[in-house]
């Protein structure tokens, strides 16, 4: 066991304080979507809600309801409507209450 103790000391600390620096692998990973209200039409929003495989998107009148808690960052919405949806690059999604994970995105694409 002494050998393991020395081995551990020699290896040193490999973990870092959060957030010491951006995670190098972060730029390769899919992230949850960010929506552009002005480019989002009711028709597009309906299509996105229909293709979302985990039911994270729901159409409510003139609002697209996005449940971050259900999103798996699969990227299908961003691929379906690149003008209205892009990958957010956001990883820090934790919230203190479940309700904070429900985002209401106004649909403004049809207003012009």
């Amino acid at each position: 066991m002494t050998l393991w103790f020395i081995r551990g000391l020699r290896r040193g600390v490999v973990t870092t304080r959060y957030p010491a620096r951006p995670d190098a692998s972060a730029r390769f990973l899919p992230t949850p979507p960010a929506f552009r209200s002005r480019a989002l039409t009711r028709e597009t929003a309906g299509r996105l809600a229909a293709i979302c495989p985990s039911g994270a998107l729901r159409l409510e009148d003139r609002t697209l309801v996005y449940d971050v808690g259900r999103c798996t960052a699969c990227g299908r919405c961003a691929a379906e409507a690149p003008a209205a949806v892009r990958s957010s690059g956001e990883f820090e999604l934790a919230a203190a209450a479940r309700s904070e994970l429900i985002k209401k995105i106004p649909i403004r694409g049809d207003l012009r």
């Binding site: 393991w4 081995r7 551990g8 692998s25 990973l29 899919p30």
Partner: protein, 490 residues
Amino acid sequence: MTTVEPRVVPGAVTTFQVASPDLEAVAHDLADLRLADMFASNGDQTTLRLVWANDTLGEAGYVITETPIENGEYPALSDIAPAAFVEECEIYEQFGIRPASGKPLNRIMLPPHADLPTLGRKPRSEPEEQHAPHLVGGQAFEFPFGPVRQVGVESLYYGLVTSGEEVVDLYLFTWHKHRGLEWRLQGMTPHDALFLAERAEGLSAVAMTWALAAAAEAAAGIQPAKGAQRTRAVAAELERLYNHAAAMAALCQSTGLSVGQSAAEIALERLLRLNARAFGHRYLFGVIDVGGASRAPDADAIREDLPAAYGEFRRAADALLGTNSFVDRLEATGILTAGQARGLGLVGPVARAAGLTADTRLVPGGPYGEQTTVATATAGDVLARFTVMLAEAAESVRLIGQFLDAGTAAGAVEMPGTGGTGLGWAESSRGEALAWIALGDDGRITRARLRPASARNWRGFDDACRSQNVFTDIPIIEASFWLTVAGMAR
């Protein structure tokens, strides 16, 4: 219906119709093969399908027997192949048909008091959940363990029977995580189904989606391009590497070796970051597509990072093998004999550590050549499983280099959108992952069967725990099996 004597064609899947009265005789004839899976499907009537595998090198292939069930009963197949018992229970819950012997059937899949959908008609009565009476000189008692266990471990309930310290018996309740995935897959296109298949057992995402994609390709009669097949194989070998590193970390945790655990976890983290760099996802989700692969690996990134990550893995493994107190805990713990592994139809490192050669990479026709080395051991204990995993990791590194040199590519052959049935397989780090699919005329799934290796190997876990082991051996045996509950409960 005419009955033809079923036989295995190497590298192929051959399907035979067997009438219900002949099924028992046919099962006796095929009992030398491994009963790889058994499932039912509903059409005009319920059909029972048995998948048999020949694991012999050079002759590897599959046979499927299809039997329409007329009166809600079929011959008791678990009396011929013990491996069938778990599926007999599952089919009773899902389709309401049962073995003719009238034996008690346990609850496997559907949680009690939850109105989850079944795939066929409901069973006439609830599963009986009977277990053998346990008494050692009148002293044995039984205590529940789980389903909520220590931090980060999946929900699983052990019924642990003990006379004090020795494990007399152990049985599992695995239905807490049931998600009805096979029910949800119905009506989906194979492409959309991959999303759920890779979540059936997240740690085998590549193998399970590869199996499902291969099943859909077999049903449609298409073949992915060679480069895309090699992309799949690179992802599958990266998946094997990180899983074996995680199993090593779990073995250290279960033996109380925290510095060893940290060393294994450093290797694990490096391998996960390599996955992210090579394929864009730490757990390799989204790599497989029906008809090919959706992404090609970044070959330069793998060539650059893999040697260092594997070096970290190897250093931790060598240090562990040189530590007597660690090796002593593994040796003669959780022994499974070749006979037990064969009888229960076990797969992967668990079967190979008991001397069996079952490995779907040897089935002709895939991207793996005949020179793929299959690591085996004979002792059947935890140490044998660990050494098999280490040898497999070394082979994975060699294979990845070979596939990258031969050339990998993205791209998928288009599905024709027609009907058919097909069987697909891939070798996950836990062993053979199987999928069977039936497509309707519109190209959508009418029935899909997912059988990750975990769904197979949990049935060997209680046998391994019973063989002269004490309580503290159970976490060590569980780490050496390195299974997921999600794969069983799916």
